[in-house]
């Protein structure tokens, strides 16, 4: 069997699904953030795979992955500083505890 585009895409779909599952079910905010990183990576995998299989010789897909990575970094930094800030206030990282605005 030779490596084909849909193998990579299937892998990315599975990783994305795992990420979705994590984002839906982790109690810990950090767990959610990590799951989101998984989803980001699934998307990046797709981009690189499309680049490799559909447009060989070009690098546009890879350039977009660079953007994805950069934005993921920005997202993670802001998210983590928010988590830290929340932790300072309510001494917990569990989502259901973050209900200060809840009546």
């Amino acid at each position: 069997m030779i490596l084909s585009l849909h193998h990579v895409l299937m892998l990315s779909a599975i990783v994305f699904g795992i990420g979705v599952y994590g984002a839906l079910t982790r109690r810990n905010v950090l767990g959610i953030l990590m799951s989101i990183e998984l989803m980001f990576n699934a998307a990046s995998l797709n981009l690189v795979a499309f680049n490799h299989f559909l447009h060989p010789g070009e690098v546009r897909g890879q350039a977009i992955v660079i953007f994805v990575i950069t934005l993921a970094a920005a997202e993670a930094v802001v998210g983590l500083s928010l988590v830290l800030s929340i932790y300072r206030n309510i001494k917990s990282v569990y989502t259901e505890k973050m209900n200060l605005l809840h009546g």
């Binding site: 979705v20 984002a23 839906l24 079910t25 959610i32 989502t95 259901e96 973050m98 209900n99 605005l101 809840h102 009546g103």
Partner: protein, 647 residues
């Protein structure tokens, strides 16, 4: 010069940003910068106007700059210079500059002075960008920025609750209209695939748009106009907008916000021409608004409210003019109205500045104390009532002529009645302010003429209000600036104009007779027609109606749901079903309470299930929202696979 046309909008925009951030260190706290920017815009646009008059610049002239691409569609920003846009740009930048100069005097000791000028500049920039836009997208951006600015400026003195509420009201009401406008934009893009005015015009010309579609688009766009230009039934925000500082009122009413709505109809005239029914709707909404607002103005006691209702009424005229096919007449009136309404507002501001009240009945005999204001207000009044020879005379005649010429005799009659009412209430306001006896000695004694920075703009505007008509009324001039994109104006018999003029004079006479005398007759008349007077005084109870029909039920519903959140659902979820029995009794008692209170919302069961659904959707638990998103994603993917099929 024409290549720099985009600077017209860009300069005030830059000024707004500079004032906002660095105003503290600029001369006159940044006001000088805003005025200079506006004057520069005025200079550029005036120069362009002169070029057009010389014949060195051919209209229309379009400049494109690529902006971004989505798929096959290219978006651009650009400048479309044609007659209407050029005339309006000149008017807007000129009036805005004058208003800013005036504001330096008017606002000199107000707090947030710098921010005020920043907003004024941004407001002007947005309007200029809108007027110059060569596509609907840019138009819409300017439109929305103006919406935001109006919110900031009407609620500028937000320390007073009324001002804040008025800002909210203006924003939300116009937003209701914007919804239609937005839907119209989407429809245009869906049907035609471009936002560019010229291209759309070509498509319309080639008959690529069915009458059916054109009607839908035209009516949706007209929703935006109804909101922005304060037409019935969305006119309610405009009188309340008087809570803003007077220069703001002048800017909103004369040059920027409300003009945008009329301009929208003019820009989209191609759609309306394809859709005669839509045009009919426009004409009747305009005509109804014209007479409707005029009747309210008759009983208003606040000088600014009188002017506000007169604005609504005049806007009705313009809309009606456009609706009956008088394209050039409507735009002409827009231009002249900008001049004399700005004048009237600024003069009213000068009066308020001097006597510190808005109430007509507390003024009187001010002509002696404030001669400059008196004369300028007088010229504004004459222009507004359409006194022979003033600018208002020419434009209003044209609108009425167009109405008659297109066989809308009833609208013509309404227009004449409106003219009568206009003369009447303006005479009333004018007499109460300037003539007769001073009714409050204290105020009268302390009244004084305003500073030069306020008077000079008034004088310039007075000249414009009186002279603009002579300058522009010739058919060839109008043809040059407002070339009719459809049928030509029909010829009308001369008596049509005379009747309109006559009804104006009649208004003057009746008003003078009533209000120059002892004023006792006025009181008697008011009590004789007490129900009518009360109805007018309360503005036909429109506000109350809206409050009862829309605002209160929404509030009640929110209260209801909130109550459920707090008392029913929380407990079910917290205590579990073990305490269902006690909860049940609570629900029962609650239903009793609310039934007694008169708020009926079906039975307790339906309310409970409704609340439970609302509660499930809004439980403040982020991952649950995420679950919903995921569900939707799954549904979409499934739908895609099922319906779109395999490639």
């Amino acid at each position: 010069m024409v290549d720099y046309a985009y600077l017209i909008a860009l300069l005030p925009f830059a000024a707004a940003i500079l004032i906002f951030f660095f105003g503290r260190w600029l001369p006159v706290k940044g006001a000088a910068l805003g005025i200079l920017a506006c004057l520069a815009s005025f200079g550029i646009s005036f120069d362009l106007l002169m070029q057009v008059l010389d014949g060195t610049l051919k209209l229309p002239h379009e400049i494109h700059y690529p902006w971004f691409e989505v798929g096959l569609f290219q978006f651009e920003w650009g400048v479309l210079l044609d007659g209407p846009s050029l005339v309006l740009v000149v008017a807007v930048s000129g009036i805005s500059a004058l208003i800013q100069i005036y504001s330096v005097g008017y606002m000199h000791d107000a707090p947030r002075f710098k921010r005020f000028f920043s907003y004024l500049s941004l407001f002007t920039a947005a309007m200029l960008a809108l007027v110059l836009a060569n596509n609907y997208l840019q138009f819409f951006i300017g439109w929305e920025i103006m919406g935001a600015c109006s919110y900031f400026l009407i609620g500028f003195e937000f320390e007073r609750d009324a001002a804040g509420a008025a800002g909210n009201k203006a924003f939300l009401t116009t937003r209701l209209g914007d919804l239609g406008f937005y839907a119209g934009l989407l429809t245009i893009f869906f049907v035609i695939g471009t936002f560019n005015f010229t291209q759309i015009q070509n498509h319309l010309h080639d008959g690529n748009v069915s009458t059916h579609m054109a009607t839908i688009i035209a009516l949706l766009l007209f929703c935006g106009t109804v909101g922005k230009s304060a037409q019935f039934p969305l006119h309610v925000w405009l009188p309340d907008a008087m809570e803003g500082p007077t220069p703001v009122s002048a800017l909103i009413h004369a040059a920027t916000m409300v003009a945008a709505g009329v301009y929208l109809v003019a820009r989209s005239y191609g759609f309306f021409l394809q859709a005669p029914q839509a045009l009919e709707v426009v004409a009747w909404v305009g005509g109804f608004t014209a007479i409707f607002a005029a009747t309210i103005a008759v009983t208003a006691d606040d000088v600014k409210k009188v002017l506000a209702y007169s604005t609504i009424s005049q806007l009705g005229y313009m809309i009606m003019g456009l609706g009956v096919g008088g394209y050039s007449a409507g735009l002409f009136h827009l231009t002249t109205h900008a001049a004399f309404k700005a004048l009237l507002f600024l003069a009213a501001g000068s009066i308020i500045h001097s006597v510190h009240t808005n109430d007509l009945w507390k003024m009187g005999s001010l002509s002696k104390q404030m001669p400059a204001t008196f004369w300028t207000f007088l010229s504004g009044t004459l222009a507004l009532v359409g006194f022979w020879g003033t600018s208002g005379y020419f434009s209003k005649e044209m609108i009425l002529g167009a109405a008659y010429g297109s066989h809308h005799v009833l609208l013509y009659g309404i227009g004449c009645a409106g003219a009568f009412l206009t003369s009447f209430y303006m005479t009333r306001a004018f007499s109460l302010i300037f003539l007769g006896d001073p009714r409050e000695r204290d105020r009268f004694a302390h009244a004084h003429e305003s500073p030069w920075s306020m008077i000079v703009p008034l004088m310039i505007l007075a000249v414009a209000a009186l002279g603009l008509g002579w300058f522009m009324h010739a058919p060839e001039t109008l043809e040059r600036f407002f070339p009719m994109p459809g049928r030509p104006d029909a010829a009308v018999p001369p008596w049509v104009g005379l009747v309109a003029l006559g009804s104006g004079f009649l208004g003057l006479a009746v008003g003078g007779a009533l209000y120059l005398g002892s004023l006792t007759l006025v009181g008697q008349l008011a009590s004789a027609f007490a129900p009518l007077h009360k109805l007018l005084k309360n503005k036909y109870y429109i506000d109350e109606l809206y409050w009862a029909v829309f605002v209160r039920p929404t509030g009640k519903l929110a209260e209801l749901l909130a109550w459920f959140d707090f008392n029913v659902i929380d407990r079910i979820f917290v205590d579990g079903f073990g305490q269902a029995a006690s909860l049940w009794s609570e629900i029962q008692s609650w239903i009793d309470d609310h039934l007694v209170d008169g708020v009926v919302n079906g039975s307790g069961w339906s309310a409970e299930s409704l609340g439970a659904i609302a509660r499930r959707m809004q439980n403040g638990f982020v991952q649950n929202y995420l679950l919903v998103i995921t569900m939707t994603l799954v549904a979409l993917l499934t739908a895609m696979e099922t319906f779109v099929g395999k490639h």
